[in-house]
């Protein structure tokens, strides 16, 4: 493919960036939806995520009218995957989306990019390495995914806000046009290490919440995903595991002691690691395997009213036994 020299040619020059024209991104999205068809988009999404069609429609509709979206939901429920998959399916630009993993020590220049004075002195301001554009500039004409936007500190929020309201990024006095649609993801406010979004920024976004799936949906997701991960081992997770895990998760999530419930991701990996453990030892998987893996996979995910780790582990074990009991009673009937 591209060699080193060609890659340099791909980098934008500052002079070209300044000459950028405004782009109506929402119209491009609407056209993309129109040519693809809603049904096709949803069926493509179905390959990645199940049970989020309604949420996806909410995201699509707001993108098509030029409203930025904030996808909110607990850890491991598929917020980022949803954003990425939708952007990938719409594919309105090349690359289909620019993604930023936000963190609390992010600076504004990290988002916008800055002029490297040493390079500028040596090679001129227009050298592609003199100004390496940040994600806010690169996302022009496309979709910007801000992962965990609630971890963004107020300083970088200000930089983001400026682009959203003025559609221009200012780099040392150079004005660069940047139109894009933003899909942000965020955990609900009760998680630690988060900043409040500034009012003006929050006002520019619509919130789409991903609810915790109900037990039946959870079960289908678990068995589908874990089978997907086990495919290369030639294994198939028995239905029992998914059923028990789903029961366990709903039990824990409904418990008032728990602040942060077990994530779907950790549940999937609990099942798959139990399966692969059994595969390594060359025997059939048992519920005891699952119990051990669930504890080790979820112990640092869930948060709640616990004095120490041991208590948490004990609690998980207890809940798991309860879930197994419920499952047995249910299946006998």
């Amino acid at each position: 493919m591209a060699t080193g020299k060609d890659l340099m040619a791909l980098l934008p020059h500052l002079s070209d960036l300044i000459k950028r024209e405004p782009v109506n991104v929402s119209k491009i999205v609407a056209d993309a939806i129109r040519t693809k068809g809603v049904k096709k988009i949803l069926s493509e999404l179905e390959k990645e995520l199940k049970g989020l069609n309604d949420i996806a429609m909410d995201v699509l509709s707001s993108l098509a009218v030029g409203r930025h979206v904030l996808i909110m939901g607990p850890v491991g429920i598929g917020k980022t995957t949803l954003a990425e998959t939708l952007a990938e399916i719409l594919h309105i630009s090349e690359p289909p989306y620019i993604e930023v993993a936000c963190h609390s020590h992010m600076t504004a220049t990290e988002l916008t990019g800055d002029i490297d004075i040493a390079v500028a002195l040596q090679a001129g301001l227009d050298h592609p390495l003199a100004y390496i554009p940040g994600p806010l500039v690169m996302a022009h004409g496309g979709i910007l995914i801000l992962d965990e936007i609630n971890r963004l500190n107020p300083y970088s929020q200000a930089a983001l806000l400026q682009v959203l309201q003025e559609h221009y990024v200012f780099i040392r006095g150079f004005r660069i046009r940047s139109d894009f649609l933003m899909i942000a993801t965020s955990n609900p406010a009760e998680y630690s290490g988060v900043y409040e979004l500034s009012e003006a920024l929050a006002d520019r976004m619509k919130v789409v919440e991903i609810p915790y799936p109900d037990k039946d949906l959870l079960k289908t997701i678990l068995s589908w995903k874990s089978n997907m991960y086990l495919e290369h081992l030639g294994l198939k997770a028995p239905d029992t595991l998914a059923e028990v895990t789903a029961t366990f998760m709903t039990l824990v999530a409904q418990d008032s002691n728990i602040e942060v419930g077990p994530s779907i991701r950790s549940a999937i990996f609990a099942i798959t690691t139990a399966m692969s453990r059994a595969w390594l030892e060359g025997r059939e998987v048992s519920l005891n395997d699952l119990k051990r893996e669930i504890i080790s996979n979820m112990v640092n995910v869930i948060r709640g009213n616990f004095a120490n780790e041991a208590e948490k582990k004990d609690y998980l074990a207890r809940k798991f036994d309860e879930a197994v009991m419920m499952y047995r009673r249910y299946s006998r009937r």
Binding site: K39, D58, S61, V65
Partner: protein
């Protein structure tokens, strides 16, 4: 169902009611911004269109849910945990009031009607033609009568017309019809493209109407016809006519300034030519006769002879001075690649660089008109094209100078393409001495391709010289090109030295 109610109106009514309730509610601190309400309306409508057919219950559900999603971050309540509940309540009350006002059945009927029509629109038009789609759109808009749907279809119709006219422009490229569509073509060039990529240079423009390898006289005719259009669109420096008619004083003044300036510029020449390997045209050597030109003397051999004589303490005579003898007719085919990228528009001492470059090239053409060389000209910005192919300068220099006057600058820089074009031109030439000169003031894209093209040119027996102007040029690349090409690399700090540099290059190859 006689009365037509636009669902957008329903949504707007609901949302304005919601706003009222939120304002009255004591638990609410801020009832939400106008922007979020505006987006809520748009979003709800888009959502319904995406969904296809929905019944009244679903419609209510969507309005409530999408509305809350849009307002959630904008509305502020005393207790954040209650926010969702308060919003839901406001929506419910708004719907209740609306239903009691208008009667539920009517609204429901209208809403479903709207949705059944628009339902088809988003179901994926990939299989069907675009025309079909727009037809359907207009039918839909006819049914709804007003509001969102009609807006959409109108927009689409406009697009279609534009698209057709564009395709018409592209298809009709024969005879005078070509020139008639010039206006729109030029408009397209100037206003549809984003400056850099789509900006056509003069050569590309001319070659849209005539074969690139056509005789220069033919090209001049095309250019004559295009002239008024070029002027209308501001592609000509306005003083072409004026300077021809008068204002000689200004011209003279400018020349004085220019020549004063040119003394200050620095010219750096790097020679990559190996004297023995450089294609020379020496046919034989002979003894000196009175009247021979002094630079025809073969210094190496003469020096050898002289030192030998001195060592042997003999007098030396005319016979010891060796003179090179050239073939009678020597034709070099020269391709001049001139950079017409946007950076050439910059001023240098009060004159655009491109104008100075044109002057220099004109000077060069005058110089060449005394030889029997052939000259071709390639203009390159983001693309390169042939302004004129190889023509004997002695015969056609007037046409060349005429065409040169209309060269304008704009766009990016792509040297590789220029070299490719030069190679195409030179493959048609039968001469055994071929030379390419590249004049550029900037950095090119795709430099690895440049090297490849240079190697190819060199394999075909062509020599390459490069002239770099100013500080921004990619000297390293240009020097490599001249090294590969076995020509000169000339670095001039100011464009005013271009004339000098071109002639220097020419003299060197003699």
């Amino acid at each position: 169902m006689g009365i037509v109610i636009d669902p957008a109106q329903v949504v707007i009514k609901v949302l304005s009611k919601v706003y009222e309730y939120l304002k009255e509610d004591p638990r609410v601190i801020r009832p939400g911004s106008v922007r979020s309400f505006e987006f809520a309306v748009n979003d709800v409508m888009m959502r319904i269109m995406l969904e296809g057919g929905v019944d009244y219950e679903r419609f209510k559900d969507i309005v409530t849910r999408v509305g809350i999603e849009n307002l959630y971050l904008s509305v502020e309540t005393t207790n954040p945990d209650e926010k969702r509940k308060i919003l839901e309540e406001a929506f419910r009350r708004a719907f209740e009031e609306l239903e009691s006002n208008e009667g539920e059945t009517e609204t429901a009927a209208q809403v479903t009607g709207f949705n059944v029509d628009t339902g088809n629109r988003f179901e994926g038009s990939s299989g069907r033609g675009r025309e079909n789609d727009s037809e359907r759109a207009s039918r839909v808009s006819g049914n709804i009568g007003s509001g969102f749907g009609s807006d959409y279809s109108a927009e689409e119709g406009r697009e279609l017309i534009v698209g057709r006219s564009l395709s018409a422009n592209i298809n009709e490229r024969s005879g005078d019809a070509r020139l008639d569509s010039l206006i729109s073509t030029i408009y397209e060039i100037l206003y549809s493209g984003v400056g850099t990529v789509n900006f056509l240079n003069l050569a590309q423009l001319i070659n849209m109407f005539v074969d690139p390898y056509a005789n220069i006289v033919e090209k001049v005719q095309v250019l004559r016809k295009m002239e008024p259009y070029l002027r209308n669109y501001g592609l000509l420096p306005s003083d072409i006519r004026r300077s021809r008619e008068g204002e000689r004083v200004f011209e003279a003044l400018r020349n004085i300034v220019r020549s004063a300036m040119s003394g200050m510029g620095q010219v750096k020449v790097v020679r990559f030519t190996d004297i023995d390997k450089y294609p020379t045209y020496v046919v034989s050597v002979r003894e000196y006769k009175v009247g021979d030109n002094y630079f025809d003397v073969d210094l190496q051999r003469t020096a050898m002879n002289l030192s030998r004589k001195i060592m042997m303490h003999k007098l030396f005579t005319n016979r010891d001075i060796v003179v090179k003898e050239y073939a009678n007719v020597k034709v070099i085919d020269i391709v001049l690649c001139l950079d017409v990228s946007g950076s050439m528009r910059e001023l240098s001492n009060g004159m655009p660089k491109i104008e100075i470059a044109k002057d220099a090239v004109a000077q060069y053409i005058h110089f060449l008109s005394r030889t029997s060389d052939k000259l071709a000209m390639v203009l390159f910005n983001f693309r390169a094209d042939i302004l004129w192919s190889l023509h004997p300068v002695r015969r056609y220099w007037r046409q060349m100078i005429y065409m040169l006057k209309y060269v304008y600058a704009g766009g990016g820089t792509n040297l590789a393409n220029a070299l490719e074009r030069s190679r195409e031109i030179l493959t048609r030439s039968r001469s055994n001495s071929k030379h390419v000169i590249c004049v550029t003031d900037g950095r090119t894209v795709n430099s690895s391709m440049c090297i490849k093209e240079a190697v190819r040119l060199r394999r075909g027996g062509t020599t390459i010289s490069t002239i770099a102007i100013g500080e921004n040029s990619d000297d390293e690349l240009l020097m490599r090109l001249s090294k590969i090409g076995g020509g000169l690399f000339i670095k001039i700090s100011s464009i005013h030295d271009l004339g000098k540099a071109l002639i220097m290059d020419k003299l060197h190859s003699m």
